[in-house]
């Protein structure tokens, strides 16, 4: 199983490295949106709550542009059946989850400095802010990977992915916004980070249980 997971991870990253589709689309969206928000704000001093809200809106929609790609690509290019005949379903899911975690890490690594620079945000607790960004991004990736497989099987595109992901992503998004607001203001965010990590763990466990039903054709 470990070898199958590693083979799938290596394959997904090699294909993405050659195409750079998911990361390029997500990063372009993140950069354009951050710039647009910055220009719209026009140097106005925003409240910490507004900063947290805008920051996570940018992260969420950037993620929606990149996360579903790893499964839709398999269905659109007709490689899903090849994958089914070569790899156990849990290896496929694990590799896609790792890939989506990496995409989220790249998005967060790009959005955090862009947002802080363009909107001139003063963060009282940068360490906590970074931890919340990491935990929130991990929660988004964990909760949407299996949904990406459902959307891909339904022949859906990005918009459908965003629609069905929103109710699942809402709890971690809400907690992430609260925790980001607290970290910008210098407050504690430990409980929120624990919640986000626990939420990720629970969603991954549920996804492992359900993925076989999504992946095997009826």
């Amino acid at each position: 199983m470990i070898e199958a997971i590693l083979a799938n991870i290596a394959k997904d990253f090699r294909i993405e490295f050659r195409r750079r589709f998911a990361v390029n689309v997500a990063l372009s969206f993140a950069a354009i949106t951050t710039l647009a928000v910055s220009l719209t704000a026009g140097g106005a001093r925003l409240e910490t709550r507004t900063h947290a809200l805008l920051f996570w809106i940018i992260i969420f929609f950037s993620a929606m542009n990149g996360l579903s790609h790893v499964f839709t690509r398999e269905e659109e290019e007709g490689t899903a059946l090849f994958l089914r005949t070569t790899s156990p379903e849990l290896a496929v899911f694990t590799a896609k989850l790792v890939f989506n975690m990496a995409v989220m890490a790249v998005i967060a690594a790009a959005v955090v400095p862009l947002y802080v620079f363009f909107l001139n945000v003063e963060i009282a607790s940068p360490g906590r802010f970074a931890l919340v960004a990491c935990a929130g991004s991990a929660a988004i990736a964990s909760s949407t990977t299996a949904l990406g497989a459902i959307v891909a099987r339904a022949g859906g595109r990005g918009s459908l992915f965003t629609i069905i992901s929103f109710p699942v992503v809402l709890p971690p998004l809400w907690v992430s916004i609260k925790a980001t607001q607290a970290s910008i203001a210098g407050g504690g965010a430990a409980q929120s980070i624990v919640f986000l990590l626990a939420f990720s763990g629970a969603l991954v466990a549920v996804s492992y249980m359900l993925f076989g039903h999504i992946w095997i054709e009826e």
Binding site: M1, E3, A4, A91
Partner: protein
Amino acid sequence: MTVRSFSLDAVSLSKSYGRTRVFENVSFSIATGESAAFTGPNGSGKSTLCDIAAGIRRPGRGTISHYLNGAPLQGESLLRVTGLAAPRVNPYDELTGMENVRFAARARGADPLTAAPLFEFFGLARHRDKLLRHYSSGMRQRLKLILSVLHDPALLILDEPGANLDDEGRWKLAEFIELIRARTALIIATNDRGEAALCSSEVRLD
């Protein structure tokens, strides 16, 4: 090479998509050293039956059981002993032929070095490091055949194996089937009477 005994028993299989019945009450058995041709007109469900036999699609009704040396197979254990080459099974365009082979071998726990003689046999040795998107349709079909047998499967399912192959490719395919016949349970889904004749029995879908 280890001696192995594989068997597949399919009893009263039926499959429908919504209200459209694909096939009904299909039964067959196959074991190591035996071969069966799935034949029938277009839309009769040959490819669907191949998927069910490979364990990547569930039948609507009926049961299908796979055994290796008396032990039942399912999930990952079935995946490791099954090879499927079909028009809908597409390797990755963004990888080379050899990278596709390495991926499939590693995912199935097989040795990718076993692919070298297969690349030679199917005449793809010169093209193994080309990206798949630069392969012709015949070369793709040859690679699909290599990928399906890379792990020495106990059950080999070939759906329209001669599709896109030239005369030499078809001859090579027939020669390869003779080489592996003794230690493999073979299923060929085809409308080509020549390919069906390579099998010792026939499952007719109407």
